[in-house]
């Protein structure tokens, strides 16, 4: 399976950064990317279309138990948690909200850390709550790479700041630096 998997979490103020990252990644980007973004739970269409316009890669809202493929971007569906499972499978869940969020970034990141260990690159972008801090700490504990968006660049700094306070972050990067890092993987 893949040498790396990329998990990205974001909330308020992250959409522009996400579209910028997606627009810069080449068609043949070799790793799967998992986006866990806070979104309106009752709006089931539109978001993926907005991301697809900007992306060179295939953006998918996965159904439960789909197999992970390299080069695909998987967006956590509205009102579902998204887990990465043993056997390169995505599982969805309607368990109660975590950090007032479903999908919760913590759950996606922690499941990635548990199953993919050192292969994980976890990135926390702009956002207004602490979701993702525990998850990225798990990524660090399991030997993955941890990145937080630069606080100066963030529209809302609470989320990357919580990540920085929760664990040892390997890199604090601007969006351009995040893109550059991903392109060198």
């Amino acid at each position: 399976m893949n040498d790396k998997i990329i998990v990205i979490g974001g909330s308020a103020g992250s959409f522009q950064i996400i579209t910028k990252i997606l627009s810069e990644l080449p068609k043949k980007f070799p790793y799967p990317i998992f986006l866990c973004l806070h979104r309106l739970k009752h709006v089931r269409t539109g978001f993926i279309e907005a991301l697809t316009i900007k992306s060179n890669l295939n953006v998918i809202e996965p159904e439960d138990k789909v197999h992970i493929k390299s080069g695909n971007i998987y967006l956590a569906p509205a009102n579902y948690h998204m887990y990465l499972e043993l056997g390169n499978i995505i599982s969805l869940s309607t368990e109660p909200a975590v950090n007032h969020s479903r999908p919760a970034i913590d759950l996606t990141f922690s499941s990635a850390a548990f199953n993919y260990k050192t292969k994980v690159v976890g990135i926390i972008l702009s956002g207004a709550n602490r979701d993702g801090a525990n998850g990225i700490a798990d990524v660090h504990k399991e030997g993955g790479i941890t990145i937080a968006q630069s606080l100066e660049e963030c529209q809302v700094r609470t989320m990357p700041e919580a990540a920085i306070n929760a664990t040892e972050i390997d890199y604090v990067y601007t969006s351009d630096e995040i893109i550059s890092y991903l392109l060198k993987l």
Partner: protein, 272 residues
């Protein structure tokens, strides 16, 4: 407490030895999270402590079954699905004596309560039989009381409005102290039964089964086994509703169902 693969296998082994039930039929990461939560909440000091408890406690199977039944969280979840159900499928239940609607693996009741309100608003509450089954006797006991979880009440009301519900949502409930109870007049034709959906069951006159976001907690093979049990009870032309992100595309032929509404994940039994 964090559990690794080895610990979870030990727990599964102990449970299987005692109850002949494969907890490993659940999705691994989901099972891990639920077990961790149970072990932490009940203050077990370590895995051996918990394994000893499995051997000695007769209630552990029921406790874990309850733990593994995820609450449904909100009434009228995916309001467009409920609108579609009301406007396009409910009519097939009219004037059908003994039409039965089944809610397998019911947990906190929001799906059932939404459906009962919909039946009432469409003058079908006395005409349709509703069967509610659950593997957890604790969940069934709670369901029989009609208690609605107060935490999500505002969200339930918002979803009801999005479903274009025409009435004052609050009029369907009694507010007693801090409890919210669905009026018991809705329960006249509801039967409750303890049953695990992975075991065969015969349901007569089954016109509709609502099984949304239940099978997502099972492994792939187990999902198929469970859905096979459910669809074997459907009569030709009757409906099965799954969660918006459940995937049975590769099993349609084996389950003898066709996609009726792709977006809302509504399927119809066919005769191949």
């Amino acid at each position: 407490m964090k559990l690794g693969v080895t610990e979870i296998r030990k727990i599964n082994f102990a449970l299987k030895n005692k109850f002949q039930f494969e907890f490993s039929d659940y999705s691994f990461y989901f099972l891990k999270r639920q077990l961790e939560s149970y072990i932490t909440r009940n203050n077990f000091r370590n895995i051996d402590d918990f394994l000893r408890y499995i051997h000695t406690c007769e209630q552990i199977e029921d406790n874990l079954r309850e733990e593994l039944l995820v609450p449904e969280n909100e009434m009228f979840r995916d309001p467009t699905m409920w609108e579609y159900l009301r406007d396009n499928i409910l009519v097939s239940l009219k004037n059908r004596h003994n039409a039965t609607v089944w809610f397998p693996e019911a947990s906190s009741g929001e799906e059932l309560f939404s459906f009962l309100i919909m039946l009432y608003e469409n003058d079908l509450i006395n005409d349709v039989r509703v069967l509610v089954t659950s593997s957890s006797k604790f969940c069934l006991k709670k369901l029989k009381t009609g208690v609605v979880r107060s935490k999500g009440y505002e969200n339930n009301e918002t979803n009801y409005k999005r479903y274009n519900g025409q009435n004052d949502f609050g009029k369907y409930f009694d507010f007693i102290d801090s409890k919210i109870l669905l009026h018991n007049k809705f329960y006249q034709n509801v039967t409750f039964k303890q049953h695990s959906v992975w075991n065969p069951i015969q349901v007569n006159g089954l016109k509709l089964t609502i099984f949304r976001n239940k099978a997502i907690y099972y492994s792939n093979n187990f999902q198929h086994k469970v859905l096979k049990n459910i669809t074997s009870n459907l009569i030709v032309g009757s409906f099965l509703i799954l969660g918006a992100k459940e995937n049975v595309r590769n099993s349609l032929i084996d389950l003898d169902i066709d996609e009726h509404n792709k977006f809302e994940k509504i399927f119809r039994k066919v005769n191949r």
